[in-house]
């Protein structure tokens, strides 16, 4: 391990920057910098999850009903894709540490592929949600009121989102068996769940896109031979810290958003 600052030559940046005492100190500082960044990320996501918690406690019936309309199969597939990508990221770090350049390139590429597959399934999920009208819109429609006994008031204004959600839930096994439970749902409040669903998963997607961008950048660097000095493995390691953190966020989104509802194996579809 180097104990003094290396000198740069043209086109060959020093492994240990001049302001560090030695390599070990530099590597620890690089790791610590990423941990400090991750603290800000923890507080960022904790804020959204805290807001979700307040409304979940206030409107538990509506949140459980809205969650039932989501797609647990895609969520399950995405959970395993992300988990596997974290595993391949760990293998990429180990390859960089061992100076295994082909292994590093391969595992970085596999991680990028798995991350992209996650985004592909996510896009499919958003598309299906949009097709089913599960978008927290405030649009309303005027419809005939067959239940009205009044001759003058034969029309009423209804929420389009509420109608679409009610229609989606009527198809679910739980609400077929317990139709009285559906009557308890206030669909205007259920709209709040979808506000959280799109913001939380959207923020997670943004982090995934940033992570994939950084992985592509490291793959380019690996191809240029940047990681040939094994000491530089620490840069792959800190990107791994970020990637694992993105997985941790998903670990909490899965039970809070997808698994809060009344799901049945009969309704699994892509």
């Amino acid at each position: 391990m180097a104990t003094s600052t290396a000198h740069a030559t043209e086109g060959n940046p020093p492994i240990v920057a001049h302001h560090f005492n030695n390599l070990r100190q530099q590597q620890s500082s690089v790791r610590f910098g990423m941990w400090l960044f991750l603290v800000t990320e923890v507080l960022f996501f904790a804020g959204v999850i805290c807001a979700y918690t307040c409304y979940r406690i206030w409107y538990p019936i509506e949140f459980e009903a809205a969650s039932t309309a989501l797609n647990p199969l895609i969520a399950g597939i995405n959970s395993f894709l992300l988990l596997t990508s974290s595993f391949t990221m760990s293998l990429a770090i180990r390859a960089a540490y061992n100076g295994n350049q082909p292994g590093l390139k391969m595992w970085l590429a596999v991680t990028i592929l798995l991350g992209t597959a996650f985004l592909g399934f996510k896009a499919r999920e958003y598309y299906v949600d949009f097709e089913e009208g599960l978008v927290p819109s405030t649009k309303t429609a005027i419809v005939s009121d067959h239940d009205s006994y009044s001759v003058l008031d034969q029309h009423k204004t209804v929420s389009l989102f509420g109608q679409k959600l009610e229609h989606a839930l009527k198809e679910k096994k739980y609400y077929k068996e317990h139709p009285e439970k559906l009557k308890e749902v206030d669909f205007d409040r259920a709209r709040l769940f979808f506000v959280f669903y799109y913001s939380m998963t959207g923020l997670h997607v943004v982090h995934m896109i940033a992570g994939i961008g950084l992985l592509v950048w490291q793959l380019v660097l690996a191809n240029l031979g940047f990681f040939r000095p094994q000491e530089r493995y620490v840069y792959v390691e800190v990107l791994g810290l970020y990637w694992h953190f993105v997985e941790v966020v998903w670990i909490f989104l899965l039970p809070l958003l997808y698994m809060a509802g009344h799901h049945s194996a009969d309704h699994l579809h892509l």
């Binding site: 003094s4 005492n21 030695n22 070990r24 100190q25 590597q27 620890s28 500082s29 790791r31 610590f32 941990w35 400090l36 991750l38 603290v39 923890v42 507080l43 904790a46 804020g47 805290c50 807001a51 918690t53 307040c54 406690i57 206030w58 647990p72 399950g76 959970s79 395993f80 988990l83 596997t84 974290s86 595993f87 760990s90 293998l91 770090i93 180990r94 540490y97 493995y233 390691e237 791994g240 810290l241 694992h244 953190f245 997985e247 941790v248 670990i251 909490f252 899965l254 039970p255 809070l256 997808y258 698994m259 809060a260 509802g261 009344h262 799901h263 049945s264 194996a265």
Partner: protein, 107 residues
Amino acid sequence: MSAQKPTVFEHEHAGPPSAAAATMIFLALAGLTAMALMIGFLELGALKVWVSLGIAVVQTAVVGVFSMDLKQSDKLTWLVVAASIFWTFLLFLFTLTDFLTRHYFAF
């Protein structure tokens, strides 16, 4: 160059988890994920959210300690992690004590 006192950033680091260790971590997390998905299909009532979040906390601990290699991190990194948990606790405490007690007062 005179000998300098080692700083907190200069402790020994044995390298990232080996491929065998990473495989064990992956299998443990895959088992926990399968369990979390299975619980999502059960009707456990109010208990469901607590069981699901309990599994999520265990998964997070496994990812943090083993995948993110906290187990061989220095004290300063542990302090940073503890601080983030503490600040998250404060965030939830002060927000929920406000929001969950509003109905006790006639505002």
